[in-house]
């Protein structure tokens, strides 16, 4: 009698050897079929290329600025100091108009802007729910809808017949976001830019109208001259002419406004074909994402628990930050000094040499010195600045959150990625990396002023080096400090409006192996194009580069009482 297990094992051992001729034939035919299919759409870009090469964002932004400009004209003071239209009246009129529709007509071929901005055919804005819809002459469609806890941002690309949908979770309630709110943000922006406004009483089709001329230069250095005819009775714009000038190129567009009862409530109604290929980039945690991220998280967990990490960061301003982090897997001690560099770290790969140098530097240099000791429940802190003596502080770990232990090695090589989406990307494919995209909506203060712009981050993970995150790119519009004081840029309202170039790039340029056989980043270059400094004459944005080197001991003998709170200076 054969046991079932034996039969199962035998079946599992079945194997058929392929014939060489068959293998060749199959593979050749499959390769030919593949080539045929790929060849038929050889110019088809990846999703990444579609997004990055698309200029929808820019024209969307420009359109928004124009619209805001037109609406703004209705409430900015005229020469006499009296409101052109009363704010309350405008708000009442706009409150009734839930949909605003705009038909765009270009007076002349858009030669100058052709390369950077496709022409818009028509667009809509709705208030409740908030939607922005733009249809382009080349068939492209943009559709963004804001709900209570989610933003749905869609782009249809006619060349590839690809419809990309992004879901961005949001904690912000957009139900109060009205056209007027957008106008108010626009006011701050245009005033800041020094827009000039001129009002002229006139007659159009035997009806009294107000002509409002606005002269404005936007963030992209495009000079807009907007002339709008508004109905005096309804306070709503009827039509507008916008002349855009940049680098000697001029585009003239006429916009006809109407206020329909309704408009397209999804991207298909706006013109995207039902047979479009759909690609969804969700930001919710999906089983597929968890499966893909598992080896990354496992690699993060498998790092040696006992370690000392010395981190030396030098910037292009002659400043340095030296950190020493002691960890035993439960407790952690973090020592860090920020100071003006007056000497350089020794050129060595020997851990003891660099550790001794770091300890000497930390204790001898005058600078901002802080020590934090996390004993698993309480974080004991001691701080000293250039001018102030040591001060102590004790806070519960919950004050810092669960991520407090992830300093040094982990946050340099395996940063926390809670959610996101795996995306196709030229850089990732070329370098055999996995790429995760995370999106973050803009953050606002309690009074709806902008604190941080919408941000996209790309994490590149290297399966060949213990799934280390070897490159991080962050994209956002600049927001000058002090944060939350200015409603800086209307562009941040639309999550699609994220710049094409990263402002922050962190790249591992050198790997090393620990004694335990784990890869770690031994040299990292960080370039931040949006580093703000206040030299006394106002905030100034400049580029800052950090060269960060990591030195690791995975078999440390911890100094006596290193984790004892009593050892902290007073």
């Amino acid at each position: 009698m054969r046991p079932v297990e034996n039969i199962e094992k035998l079946i599992n051992r079945l194997r058929v050897e392929p014939r060489v001729e068959m293998s060749k034939r199959n593979l050749n035919d499959a390769l030919a079929a593949h080539k045929r299919v790929i060849g038929s759409v050889s110019s088809r870009p990846t999703i990444w290329r579609i997004i990055m090469k698309s200029r929808i964002s820019k024209i969307g932004a420009a359109a928004t600025v124009i619209i805001v400009g037109i609406l703004l004209s209705m409430i900015v003071l005229d020469k006499t100091g009296a409101p052109a239209f009363g704010m309350a009246e405008v708000m009442a009129a706009m409150a009734k108009a839930e949909w605003m529709h705009m038909t765009w007509e270009y007076d002349e071929p858009n030669t100058g802007f052709e390369l950077i901005e496709p022409e818009i055919r028509e667009s809509w804005t709705s208030v409740n729910p908030k939607r922005n819809i733009t249809v382009y002459n080349n068939g492209k469609v943009n559709f963004t809808e804001y709900s209570k806890d989610e933003i749905k941002a869609q782009q249809y690309d006619v060349e590839t017949n690809l419809l990309t949908t992004r879901y961005i979770s949001t904690g912000r309630n957009y139900s109060y976001t009205t056209i007027i709110e957008m106008v108010l943000v626009g006011i701050a922006e245009m005033k800041k830019r020094g827009a000039t406004v001129e009002y002229i009483d006139s007659v159009d089709n035997s009806q009294p109208v107000k002509i409002i001329n606005i002269d404005n230069i936007d963030d992209n250095n495009v000079h807009f001259k907007t002339s709008t005819i508004a109905d005096v009775r309804t306070r709503l714009p009827i039509r507008s002419t916008v002349i855009s000038e940049k680098q000697g190129y001029t585009t003239t567009v006429n916009i006809i406004f109407d206020y329909p009862q309704t408009g397209p409530t999804d991207i298909y109604q706006a013109g995207a074909p039902p047979n479009a290929e759909v690609k969804v980039i969700g930001q919710k945690i999906t089983p597929e994402f968890l499966e893909m991220i598992r080896p990354y998280r496992a690699a993060r967990e498998s790092l040696p628990q006992q370690r000392i990490v010395v981190e030396v960061a030098n910037d292009n301003d002659n400043s340095s930050v030296v950190s020493v982090i002691y960890t035993n897997g439960i407790k952690e001690r973090f020592e860090q000094l920020s100071y003006i560099r007056n000497d350089t770290s020794p050129e060595t790969e020997d851990f003891k040499t660099i550790w001794n140098w770091a300890n000497r530097t930390i204790r001898n240099e005058s600078g901002n010195f802080r020590i934090q000791l996390n004993d698993g429940a309480v974080v004991h802190g001691a701080y000293r600045s250039y001018f102030n003596p040591w001060t102590r502080e004790e806070l519960s770990l919950s004050h810092y959150g669960t991520g407090f232990l992830v300093t040094g090695l982990i946050n340099r090589g395996w940063p926390t990625i809670k959610t996101g989406a795996f995306v196709e990307n030229d850089y990732a494919v070329k370098n055999n990396l996995l790429c995760i995209e995370t999106l973050r909506e803009p953050r606002f203060t309690g009074d709806s002023k902008l604190a941080e712009a919408a941000e996209k981050t790309l994490y590149y993970i290297d399966p060949e080096h213990d799934y280390m995150c070897v490159r991080i790119e962050s994209f956002r519009h600049p927001v000058p400090p002090p944060y939350g004081n200015t409603a800086v840029n209307v562009l941040v309202f639309d999550p699609i409006d994220i710049p094409f170039e990263p402002y922050l790039v962190t790249e591992v340029v050198q790997f090393s192996l620990t004694d335990t056989g784990h890869w770690y980043p031994s040299c990292i270059i960080t370039t931040n194009k949006q580093s703000w400094s206040d030299p006394g004459s106002g905030w100034e944005m400049r580029e800052k580069t950090f060269d960060i080197r990591l030195y690791i001991d995975t078999n440390p003998e911890f100094p006596d009482s290193i984790f004892d709170p009593e050892s902290l200076p007073r």
């Binding site: 054969r2 079932v4 079946i11 593979l27 597929e288 399966p463």
Partner: protein
């Protein structure tokens, strides 16, 4: 798993090396599954051929929910089932016996191992197709019962019953051979 994802990325982007690697990686596995299902080498080779050509043609459409290995096995199983249906309508189609070999080095001589496998393959070939499909896809292709249930469009309990009956029947056939 991650390697498969990378291969799939590259394959979808048109890199022929990725397709070549996928083929080489899964050729033996898929050919074995097809041969065990059809008990016919020539037909199994054709199924493998057609499956890979169709896979290559789907480069832009393919959306993988699970893993690549299971996906390919499912493609092969679907084609085998279509072929079996055609055969039932055209009974003149003849089977060409399959030739199995040991897939790992065991203590027993290769000839004995091969003979055992030949016998077990013959026993599998005698199973009703639904039972054969469950046994082969579960044991050789590595599909879980839930996946097979989706493939056969029946409940998981039915699949488990088919598996149990199938294994019992193979055992009876083999025991019958021994006693004969």
């Amino acid at each position: 798993m991650i390697e498969d994802r990378l291969l799939l990325y590259k394959f979808k982007r048109g890199e022929s090396d990725a397709l070549r690697r996928i083929y080489e990686k899964y050729e033996v596995y898929l050919l074995t599954v097809a041969t065990a299902l059809l008990n016919d080498m020539d037909a199994a080779e054709d199924v493998l051929h057609d499956s890979f050509v169709a896979f290559a043609e789907s480069a832009h459409k393919i959306r993988l929910e699970g893993n690549l290995r299971s996906f390919l096995a499912t493609c092969v199983a679907n084609r085998c089932r279509d072929l079996m249906r055609k055969r039932s309508r055209n009974p003149e189609s003849l089977n060409k016996a399959a030739s199995f070999t040991c897939d790992e080095k065991g203590p027993e001589p290769a000839a004995i191992c091969n003979e055992r496998l030949e016998r077990i393959a013959r026993a599998i070939a005698l199973l009703p197709y639904e039972q054969r499909e469950v046994v082969v896809l579960h044991l050789k292709a590595g599909l879980i019962f839930k996946q097979i249930a989706g493939l056969q469009k029946v409940g998981v309990n039915t699949v488990q019953s088919r598996y149990r009956y199938g294994i019992e029947k193979v055992r009876s056939i083999l025991n019958g051979e021994v006693t004969r």
